[in-house]
């Protein structure tokens, strides 16, 4: 019994840690463009996002009854060691991509970790590869394209309709709109992603008999999952916010509103149609569409390429780490401890490296590159500067 409770405690803590990195990683999805256009000040933006993520966790628990939506065979395959290994893979990949300032999908990292850990721990038959294709790969390709196209169209229309309007009214109006559209993304994110953690903790408890089969998440699970994701969100993954807000394109309020609306719409329609998708990819796709739909039709293709490569790598990379971790964790308690130690050491190392070039609320809008040459000569720091003056719209 002692063995089980040690492992279960480790899994729960790791799941909450993953939830934290998830919030941290995905603040940018909802808030990057609002911060970039000055619709919200950085600190306020992350506070709103954190609050709505927490609120979102309480809206629904239906997704939380499954870890993976059928990607791995949960009935036979899953035991706490595998879940732990999967989480380790997902956390490390999330931190590595954060360090590089690249928005990658936290859900894909989790699924990748699960697939890798299951293949090693149970065998390839524990993974439903059909479901992987139809529930992960196809939406992963389709959703950013759809969001990008919708955002492109919406941006074109927004510019056409308000072509002759005063820039001040336009800037103010669309910035106000952005507050609502980014809030909606935050709320949807809290609902979707906090539920994944709830599901992991609940199913772990079920698997050791601490909860009856088919139990809904207990209140403490909902509260702690919501709190972990909200705390992570509030910390703000400023590196990723910078990449998404100003690294892909110069975003004006019209474009910010269009891309956020597109992202919110795609997320809501597809989750109500039963497609799982990556909030990160949808939001990035939306920003790309908005960049191309703008008057200058500009996009920083170097950043686009790096993001797309990262998306492609997320699943296999997290799977590799997850598989390796599963191999060790299956050896017994010392293996679990070793994976835990590696996880802590790896996370600490990445944090230390990040301190060499810190990105925070004060310099998030400064430069466009994640690895900047110290300070760009004409950097405009004040995020409150109306975008209409800095952008030749």
């Amino acid at each position: 019994m002692e063995h089980i409770s040690f492992l279960v405690a480790v899994v729960i803590i790791t799941a909450l840690a993953f939830d934290f990195t998830n919030g941290f990683h995905d603040t940018a999805n909802a808030m990057a463009t609002s911060i970039a256009t000055g619709a919200l000040r950085p600190k306020i933006a992350v506070a709103i996002a954190a609050l709505l993520n927490f609120a979102g966790a309480f809206l629904s628990v239906k997704v939380a009854t499954t870890i993976s939506g059928g990607i791995v065979n949960e009935k036979t395959g899953i035991h706490p060691e595998i879940i732990f290994a999967a989480l380790a893979g997902a956390i490390l990949w999330n931190l590595l991509t954060w360090l590089r300032g690249l928005p990658s999908s936290s859900s894909h990292a989790l699924y990748g970790g699960l697939i890798g850990a299951t293949v090693v721990g149970v065998g390839a038959n524990g993974v439903n590869f059909d479901t992987v294709v139809s529930k992960i790969l196809i939406p992963a390709v389709a959703s950013p394209l759809v969001a990008g196209l919708a955002s492109w169209g919406a941006t074109k229309l927004a510019f056409a309709i308000t072509r002759k309007s005063g820039e001040e009214t336009v800037g103010k109006g669309f910035r106000t709109g952005q507050i609502f559209s980014s809030s909606l993304i935050s709320l949807a994110h809290g609902t979707n992603d906090a539920q994944k953690t709830m599901g992991i903790i609940t199913l772990t408890l079920v698997s050791v008999g601490a909860l009856p089969k088919g139990a809904l998440p207990p209140t403490w699970v909902i509260v702690s999952a919501g709190a972990a994701i909200a705390l992570g969100t509030y910390m703000g993954g400023w590196r990723i916010i910078r990449s998404m807000g100003s690294g892909l394109a110069d975003i004006t309020p019209r474009q910010g509103f269009a891309s956020e609306s597109a992202a919110a719409t795609v997320i809501l329609t597809s989750s109500s149609m039963g497609f799982g998708l990556s909030t990160t990819q949808v939001c990035s796709g939306g920003i790309m569409g908005a960049g191309l739909g703008g008057p200058k039709a500009e996009l920083r293709w170097g950043m686009v390429r790096r993001m797309v490569y990262t998306w492609g790598l997320t699943l296999p990379a997290a799977a590799t780490v997850g598989g390796l971790a599963a191999y060790l964790a299956e050896r017994g308690n010392w293996g679990v401890a070793l994976v835990g130690a590696a996880l802590v050491a790896g996370s600490a190392a990445m944090w230390v490296i990040s301190r060499r070039q810190p990105v925070d609320a004060d310099n998030v809008n400064d430069t466009t590159d994640v690895t900047p040459v110290e300070v760009a000569p004409a950097a405009v720091p004040a995020p409150t500067t109306p975008a209409s003056t800095t952008v030749a719209a």
């Binding site: 979102g56 809206l59 629904s60 239906k62 997704v63 059909d130 294709v133 139809s134 196809i138 939406p139 389709a142 759809v146 969001a147 196209l149 919708a150 955002s151 169209g153 919406a154 941006t155 229309l157 927004a158 309709i161 308000t162 309007s165 005063g166 009214t169 336009v170 109006g173 669309f174 709109g177 609502f180 909606l184 709320l187 949807a188 609902t191 019209r254 509103f257 269009a258 609306s261 597109a262 919110a264 719409t265 795609v266 809501l268 329609t269 597809s270 989750s271 109500s272 149609m273 039963g274 497609f275």
Partner: protein, 84 residues
């Protein structure tokens, strides 16, 4: 392997339609606001400094209608999240 291409296409179409629709309506609202602003400024200049200027109520009503439509779309979105 069973892939729901139909549902996928439907999702894509609906997403595109709603996004473009909402953003267009919102932009129309802003257009109305800025027209009103321009009209008021013109009248203010004609009336001379210090005079109170009214008017543009129709434009304002139009703008608010547009924003209300967008608000309804947001509420619908919220209901989708909550009922999932």
């Amino acid at each position: 392997m069973h892939i729901k291409w139909n549902a996928l296409a439907q999702t894509a179409g609906v997403s595109f339609g709603i996004t473009v629709g909402v953003v267009a309506v919102f932009a129309l609202g802003i257009l109305a606001l800025s027209r009103r602003e321009a009209a008021l400024t013109a009248r203010r200049e004609a009336a001379g400094p210090g005079t109170a200027v009214t008017g543009g109520r129709l434009a304002l009503a139009g703008a608010y209608t547009c924003f209300a439509v967008c608000g309804a779309a947001v509420l619908y979105g919220l209901s989708l999240i909550a009922n999932k």
